[in-house]
Symmetry: C3
């Protein structure tokens, strides 16, 4: 049998070719009925997923657990390093070697960039990066792409606005990289001057054919886009609270500005107030679907990696 | 097939008719062998229960987990809001929508009355109230009734003393409401003046035919009752510690006062010192059985709600 | 059927005869393929293990969970008493009675010696001591013995050095007791004067035929031993940090001192710096294998106790 999906570890979306992404999205679609609890399966019965969450992340952790359990697999792990051996002074390498012995795959969340890569170099089981610092969060990007494709029917030929904190938000970094693999996509980068997309990411975009434009308010692009991908602006990023209060309004999406438009609204969640509650009950709201899509997409990833790389 | 049990959510025992309670108690009896690990079953294989415990509650959480796992189901969740997205400022509604996507039913514990009801209004999966503030704790009441019925053979025609903190104790509020559905029951309300049953609950009782009487010591009723339902009196409820020390003794059950009597002793647990340890090894002790009964009763609830309300 | 393994509870390694240890080691060997995820089994399907960890212990807890889940069983429990009913003032006895009702076996970790024994006296399900204070940690000893037997082929006729903090380290106490059951074993007790093996343990050794010798540095014994069992020396044990710094070097194992030798290096983990990282990639390193061996050995224990003692 030819193995289509060749990656052993999911560290960065930059390691993906378009066909790798397509493979995961197709697998996810096939697993939706199980994710929705309409069918059951024993795909990963007897398998164990090791969750090493050095920083807490409810949503990511719960969706990986749900994905594993819908496939009849099991989970072990910790949710913050305070309650683990790490607090006794153990090195991350030793902790990872222990988890390698107990698990069929590892999911790593850490506040420092590069930790997942480091662990993938010293263990034999597949490693999934569930967010490392301001670095990558590739499985979030996969579920974002899955949501776009499912809701609009394609990813090629779309105009997508990334809104909010583009400087520190790792989800928009990963998503920008991934969109470069698609045809005729235009990205609007919508952020305050202080929180613009980092030069490194812009350099990545420049190396491809992708069309992008930096703007400073949602108003400028709302008539032209297919997707509004909203992220949170943390007021702590501004030295002076008045600077924050002055610009805040330009990055809040509400029902009124959406009326008559075709755009869908997405958000990696949790949200605070950057999407007004009045959007929740409209057809524009796709962020709750997006939250659910974490399950079939992570099921596809777990199934693929564990089946392709038996211990 | 006619569905006998019509409730989709378990929010308050006041939503129950007697036939609803009887249905759950009968189902629980059928599931006892599985609860006791004498048989296994796959009733909820592939299903996931979401546990949203905004305040900790070891006993309630563990028994729900046990119930789900004895039915071959799985659990996800958090045990206090500190480690959840809630601590990042996410609304309860958004957290609940996430859990709805991942789970087949939700169990909610919160320090504020009404949170379970609120969540049941915005999600499509069944919601179970596992205690909200000084409000209701309906599944505790169902297991209390199950224990009475199992130990004495009936609930009708009994004399039941509710003892201790009747003001703040939600278990005695729920239980009082439920007992009104039975015939010829007499309730003794045994508490210090400061911790008497609230007027609202007494009004509920007045609207029915139930017979009740307020007294101030166990001594007055010990010869006449079938059930002593003991709860804890927290000394913090008394401004002056001396007030507490003066009355404390009247609300402690011990072996000596039980000798020659027919009453059974129950307690929702955890207990501190309101039941003397010398009762543990007597026939009067039914509080450990009662703790176990949480499992078959919660199994009956989970099975019924999840089977009746597929996603 | 004759039941070979007669113990109902695993409290102290001193309760074991040699045939009991051999039985568990043989069972563990048979379960290795399942532990390694090469096969699946349903041995403990529907069974629940109660984990009462009054103090945290990542490694022990995760390996018990892994063991239970590889056998298709489930776990419930808590990881520190702060989040349990214990924090509401409940007695350990009441907490244990609750767990007895929900579980098929209990694993206890507590900072006080004797707690596991106490609980085993008041519940009907099997109880496993997962470390109590400076007392025993019998399942660690079983996996240590399993590792020695697997790596060297036997336990009889070996020379084994126990190194580091022999005063407070419970793993070396349990292991010393167990080695007395084997033939022609010599133990080297390698520690600073301040952290020598306690008199009680030496008295235990004196009662048997075992040969032992107390020395103060690894150098003295490195040419003569088959096993270096290294443990951590906590600098807090020394009043004066300079006393610690002076002796520290004599208890660190590195690659250079091992070259040309036949010894294997073991460690209960977590390690800090008492085994140099340069040993990790050598043939001497057996501590990562030892960490993995926790799984098949604890599987053997759980399977044996739960199958032998149905509820």
């Amino acid at each position: 049998m030819i193995r289509i999906f060749k990656l052993k570890n999911i560290i960065s979306i930059k390691d993906f070719e378009r066909k790798d992404i397509d493979y995961i999205l197709d697998e996810a679609a096939k697993l939706e009925n199980i994710a929705k609890s309409k069918e059951t399966c024993d795909e990963l019965k007897g398998k164990i997923l090791g969750l090493m969450f050095f920083e807490p992340s409810t949503r990511t952790k719960l969706s990986f657990e749900t994905a594993m359990k819908r496939l009849s697999g099991e989970c072990i792990g910790f949710e913050n390093s305070g309650s683990s051996s790490v607090s006794k002074g153990e090195s991350i390498a030793d902790t990872a070697k222990m988890f390698e012995g107990y698990s069929d795959a590892l999911v790593i969340r850490h506040e420092l960039e590069g930790v997942s890569k480091f662990i993938s170099d010293i263990v034999d089981v597949p490693v999934i990066n569930a967010g490392d610092g301001a670095g990558q969060h590739p499985t979030q990007t996969l579920l974002d792409l899955y949501t776009i494709k499912k809701e609009i029917g394609k990813i090629d030929d779309l105009k997508i606005a990334l809104i909010g904190d583009l400087k520190f938000g790792r989800t928009v970094h990963s998503l920008s990289n991934a969109l470069c693999l698609y045809n005729n996509v235009k990205i609007y980068l919508v952020s305050p001057k202080k929180l613009k997309m980092p030069q490194e990411v812009l350099h990545d975009l420049d190396k491809t054919n992708i069309n992008y434009e930096e703007v400073e308010s949602i108003e400028e692009i709302i008539d032209d886009v297919d997707v509004l991908y909203v992220t949170r602006i943390q007021k702590e990023r501004f030295g002076d609270i008045n600077d924050y209060l002055k610009i805040k309004g330009a990055y809040i999406v509400n029902k009124k500005m959406l009326e008559g438009k075709n755009a869908i609204v997405m958000h990696p969640l949790p949200r605070i107030d950057e999407i007004d509650g009045d959007v929740d009950d409209t057809k524009y709201n796709k962020y709750f679907n997006q939250a659910f899509n974490a399950v079939p997409v992570r099921m596809a990833i777990l199934k693929t990696l564990i089946k392709n790389n038996p211990k």
